[in-house]
């Protein structure tokens, strides 16, 4: 059965508190933190980008479970902040984990769901026998224009999932997607920051697509929300996933372990994947996990995942790499000036 063979996460150590961003733009910090349900967000170091985050996440996955790099036949990195416009981040990841040259690779972009699209691609390749293992990464140093609503949540981080047929720690029972052409959020070629449709990103974007994919999954699997132990939804803020969970009939307890956005922010392509990783950090054999990502533009990928005995076996060592909780602990706080420097938002004389 195809499933998750191993997984790893990386989150930079720096954080900025939302009230500090609000202070700079004269916004009401209480309204923002209450409205978004986000209190702080991760900030990359000066020498961190999507490629370094993707490599660290992939290396963590490899540390947790022995996998012959030669058997990794595919690597897909989903991001909307690839360091190069042309030159794949996936090749850098492949080289850094010793999987090159006998592999295929490509970079994906589908706003916040490019990483889960990579999982689906790896599932297809593994299930058809084309590759023994594939790695799907979702990582971003998320972009938000100074003063824009996105700046309060756009964070840095990512997760890597090794997908294969051989004794997975979690079987992926099924996946399905819901996709339309919806201009709720975009970034044109050559632009530094994305633009969005404000409130339009809600109902016609996030809620329509997440519900579309989630209801399709429940129907195709013949399940109800109470059949699952945990649920993870894309988390651009804390409000949206909580509201969509309620609309679909999932409880606050089911989404709690995977709701990392209040202390992490929105890691765009990493968002739902880090949420899934945080859930796998606490899951036990038999746990059933419902996942629905969302990418603006727009689409959602849903997954029905069932944790196996392998997660508790000697073959898999969860403690060999840091958990999401450990990565969120012990942050270094920066003020807005340092944050702006770290994000390259200060224009330098050349």
């Amino acid at each position: 059965m195809v499933g998750i063979y191993s997984y790893g996460v990386y989150i930079p150590r720096f954080r900025i508190k939302i009230p500090e961003i609000a202070r700079v733009w004269g916004a009401n910090a209480d309204d923002l933190t209450k409205g978004l349900g986000v209190f702080e967000k991760s900030v990359p170091d000066l020498d961190e980008d999507t490629a370094t985050i993707a490599v660290e996440a992939a290396r963590s996955a490899m540390r947790r479970r022995s996998v012959d790099p030669e058997k990794i036949g595919a690597i897909y990195v989903g991001s909307e902040s690839h360091p190069y416009a042309v030159k794949p981040t996936a090749c850098t990841v492949g080289e850094a984990i010793g999987a090159t040259p006998h592999m295929t690779a490509a970079d994906y972009e589908f706003a916040c769901k490019a990483g889960t699209a990579g999982i689906q691609t790896c599932m297809g390749l593994a299930k058809s026998g084309m590759v023994p293992y594939g790695i799907a990464v979702g990582a971003d140093v998320a972009q938000g224009a100074p003063g824009d609503a996105l700046e309060y949540t756009a964070a840095a981080g990512g997760a890597a999932f090794v997908i294969g047929n051989d004794d997975p720690i979690a079987v992926i029972n099924h996946t399905c997607s819901f996709t339309t052409d919806t201009p709720d959020f975009w970034r044109r070629e050559g632009q530094n920051f994305p633009r969005h449709g404000g409130r339009f990103t809600g109902d016609p974007g996030y809620f329509k697509h997440v519900q579309g994919a989630a209801r399709m999954m429940l129907e195709q699997m013949g399940k109800t929300p109470s059949d699952y132990d945990y649920a993870v939804f894309h988390q651009p803020n804390a409000k949206f996933p909580q509201r969509v969970a309620k609309m679909l009939g999932f409880s606050a307890d089911q989404i709690r372990p995977g709701l990392v956005v209040p202390r992490l922010g929105n890691t765009y392509s990493g968002s739902s994947m880090v949420g899934l990783a945080a859930t796998l950090d606490v899951a036990e054999p038999g746990s059933r996990i419902f996942v629905t990502s969302f990418g603006s533009g727009a689409g959602s990928d849903a997954f029905d995942i069932e944790v196996t005995d392998a997660i508790a076996s000697g073959a898999f060592d969860r403690s060999a790499a840091p958990t999401v909780e450990q990565l969120l602990a012990n942050p270094i706080y920066v003020d807005y000036a340092l944050y702006a420097k770290h994000k390259g938002k200060i224009v330098m004389q050349r």
């Binding site: 490629a51 660290e56 850094a96």
Partner: protein
């Protein structure tokens, strides 16, 4: 740095690929193709260092070349890898945190970039592991 020069060193920069003389057991980084001890009796093989080590000595760079001026002050150290080879690398910590004997582990970071439109040089730095 030219594109080809950076590309040639990718195995060393990304994955700490050095060499070992299997005759005497000595490790080399950067890789050597000849053992100075065993000479013609030496058998040289590739070896990937684990990336754990300690700071032998360090300096703090406060006035850097153009490619690094955005990151000053930074710690540049000689790191002794546990296998026995020494290399020069940045340690990602404040100058106050750095000390001789500090345990460190390797991480994958952006080292420099060839301007706004040139190649990005990725490679290995170290972070405190205590």
């Amino acid at each position: 740095m030219s594109v080809s020069r950076f590309w040639r060193k990718i195995p060393q920069r990304y994955n700490l690929i050095g060499t070992q003389c299997t005759t005497c057991g000595r490790y080399f980084f950067p890789p050597r193709s000849f053992c100075p001890e065993c000479r013609r009796d030496g058998e040289i093989v590739d070896y990937q260092f684990k990336g754990d080590g300690e700071i032998v000595t360090y300096t703090v760079i406060r006035s850097a070349s153009d490619q690094f001026e955005n990151t000053t002050p930074y710690v540049l150290a000689i790191v002794r890898l546990d296998e026995g080879a020494d290399l020069t690398a940045q340690v990602v910590c404040t100058p106050e945190e750095a000390r001789i004997g500090m345990r460190v582990r390797s991480v994958f970071r952006r080292i420099a970039a060839d301007g706004e439109s040139g190649v990005i040089h990725y490679g290995t730095k170290f972070v405190p592991a205590e």
